[in-house]
């Protein structure tokens, strides 16, 4: 049973590596892939139905952790907005020019805009580096869970999981 997540509030690298939904370093090098940071046995399975490639399996019992078949995953990112726990990310180390792209759910207003420079943060919410917004998806299938994709230096791709909230002008 996981420990670090119950104390720090986010999984340790070790816990992620042991999670069946976390892709291998080899797969990450090949291009966009879902990164499932769901490491506890909780009763939940919408990710399984979200994947058109059937790359995510939970099966029975429903408390199984999601298993990613990393060869089947084509990196479409449809699972990102569907995870009720907002625990799925899409990472593409092949974005180019020393950059990687990281996509994450972002349920705050105002939304960032394309090409905006944002403050990329790690799992603890600490600023890591500036990022550039590539895309903001918020269509009907998102069901009000917008997905933001940012470009960041490749070496930070494994730690960046969001951006600092953009505050409204008062």
């Amino acid at each position: 049973m996981s420990q670090a997540v119950k104390i720090r509030g986010y999984p340790s690298p070790q816990e992620l590596e042991n999670a069946p939904g976390y892709p291998s370093p080899e797969r990450l090098e090949k291009g966009p892939v879902a990164v499932i940071e769901c490491i506890e046995e909780i009763p939940c399975n919408p990710c399984e139905q979200a994947c058109p490639q059937h790359a995510i399996t939970i099966g029975k019992p429903i408390t199984n952790r999601p298993h990613l078949d990393e060869d089947k995953c084509i990196g479409c990112g449809l699972c990102v907005a569907r995870c009720p726990g907002l625990a799925i990310f899409l990472v593409d180390l092949t974005y180019g020019k020393g950059k990687a792209s990281v996509a994450f759910p972002y349920e705050y207003l105002p939304l960032p805009e394309k090409e905006q420079t944002v403050q990329a943060v790690n799992r603890a919410g600490e600023p890591v580096c500036p990022g550039t917004v590539i895309m903001v998806q918020n269509s009907k299938v998102n069901d009000q869970t917008p997905v933001v994709t940012i470009a960041v230096p490749r070496e930070y791709a494994s730690e960046i999981r969001g951006i600092a909230r953009i505050r409204k002008e008062r």
């Binding site: 049973m1 996981s2 997540v5 119950k6 104390i7 720090r8 509030g9 986010y10 999984p11 940071e37 769901c38 490491i39 506890e40 046995e41 909780i42 009763p43 939940c44 399975n45 919408p46 139905q49 979200a50 029975k60 019992p61 429903i62 408390t63 569907r82 009720p84 726990g85 907002l86 625990a87 349920e107 705050y108 207003l109 943060v121 790690n122 799992r123 603890a124 919410g125 600490e126 069901d143 009000q144 869970t145 999981r161 969001g162 600092a164 909230r165 409204k168």
Partner: protein, 382 residues
């Protein structure tokens, strides 16, 4: 006196599904809720649900409430809101308006349909689905304005669109504390910290991770010592606690906050069940005292059923299933069964077991089983 087949107290997930199943089987069905809007906690739940497809996973609670109300309407269930059932005796429910006629509650579209200030209704079967109540936490300054239950903050923010404060301390890192913190962030507040007296975050790791990456610290082994302020909360003093729950001298920290939310658990809201005379059993895993019920959700009072958080604090998904079960069983005891009811009951029981599995939920399954075993002895035989 008006007579109905089925009276349901509480228009949350359990009460609504109970009413829908009863009405589907031909019961004249009336639902009472003391709040100005029906839907119970669902109308505050703007997050996507966990669970499986049959439990509406991935759907936001607020949408589930709308669907259930629509279904209730098409099954001709009458939902009275803004009314409180204050006594039950001999299958008669005494009902009074919760709000004065000029209160904001009564001006809403779904206004209280009570024809007079008071009404007595005779019901052949009663289903109590009165939900849970938040536990309080006492500390110096806890009566200052600005100290409130996390549920109250969630109601202000998500139902009435009023942000309770700008800088908020959340006390308790169970799922309620974590989810409400996230929603207050979405509403534009700062969560200064979430503190938790035990050594571990009680809620799901994914809920914790959401607020951590928004920069919110979660301090385990921390408690609140006092709230300070002249007319309202201006700061909170917190401290680390040792293994025997005692504050560690010198570890005090002052946090400048205007709001302190308390999320230290829920207990079944048993007041009405108790008044009605249901036997209770104390089950810490289920939140404290709960009405004893059998596998058909019937209490020690023949003809009176329970469902949802009242019968043990759990999730909306289990409340939906227990409500269905209670509705089907109450209708069937009136001779109003639908073909395939036995299969349906078995399917519900299977889904409940699946929802109560895993390290988080298995303790509830065990506690529920114990409660039902007591119920099978104490409640009438079918």
């Amino acid at each position: 006196m008006r007579e109905v087949d089925l009276a349901v107290v509480g228009a949350g997930p359990a009460g609504l599904t109970a009413a829908i199943e009863g009405a589907k089987r031909g019961c004249t069905t009336l639902v009472f809720d003391m709040n100005p809007l029906p839907g119970g906690q669902l109308i505050k739940q703007i997050h996507k649900f966990f669970g499986s497809r049959e439990h509406r996973a991935g759907t936001r609670g607020i949408k589930i409430a709308a669907e259930l109300l629509h279904q209730a309407e098409s099954e001709k269930v009458e939902v009275m809101v803004g009314v409180e059932v204050y006594a039950i005796h001999d299958n008669i429910l005494e009902v009074a308006r919760t709000f004065a006629e000029d209160s904001p509650g009564s001006s809403l579209k779904q206004e209280a349909t009570l024809p007079s200030r008071h009404l007595a209704i005779a019901a052949r079967r009663i289903i109590l689905a009165t939900g849970g109540a938040e536990n309080a936490l006492n500390f110096p300054g806890w009566t200052l304005p600005g100290v409130m239950g996390a549920g109250a903050a969630q109601t202000m923010s998500n139902v009435w669109r009023v942000l309770p404060g700008e800088r908020i301390l959340m006390v308790g890192a169970g799922n309620v504390g974590l989810i409400v913190s996230y929603q207050l962030l979405q509403g534009g507040a700062e969560i200064t910290a979430v503190i938790e007296a035990t050594q571990k975050i009680g809620g799901y790791g994914v809920h914790a991770a959401k607020i951590r990456r928004a920069g919110v610290p979660i301090l385990t082994s921390h408690t609140i010592l006092r709230a300070e302020g002249d007319l309202r909360v201006e700061k909170a003093v917190i401290a680390r606690v040792d293994a025997s729950w005692q504050p560690v001298p010198g570890s005090e920290q002052e946090l400048g906050v205007d709001t302190i939310c308390i999320a230290v658990g829920l207990r079944p809201n048993t007041r009405l069940a108790s008044l009605a005379g249901c036997n209770l059993h104390c089950s810490p895993r289920l939140g404290g005292w709960v009405p004893i019920h059998n596998s058909r959700m019937e209490t020690t009072i023949p003809g009176t059923y329970v469902a949802g958080d009242l019968s043990g604090v759990e999730e909306a998904s289990t409340a939906l299933e227990e409500g269905r079960l209670a509705g089907i069983c109450a209708a069937s005891s009136l001779g109003k069964s639908a073909p395939g009811d036995d299969k349906e009951i078995a399917a519900i029981e299977e889904r409940l077991i699946s929802l109560r599995s895993g390290p988080f939920c298995q303790p509830r399954q065990d506690a529920k089983q114990e409660l039902i075993e007591i119920g099978e002895v104490q409640c009438r035989k079918q």
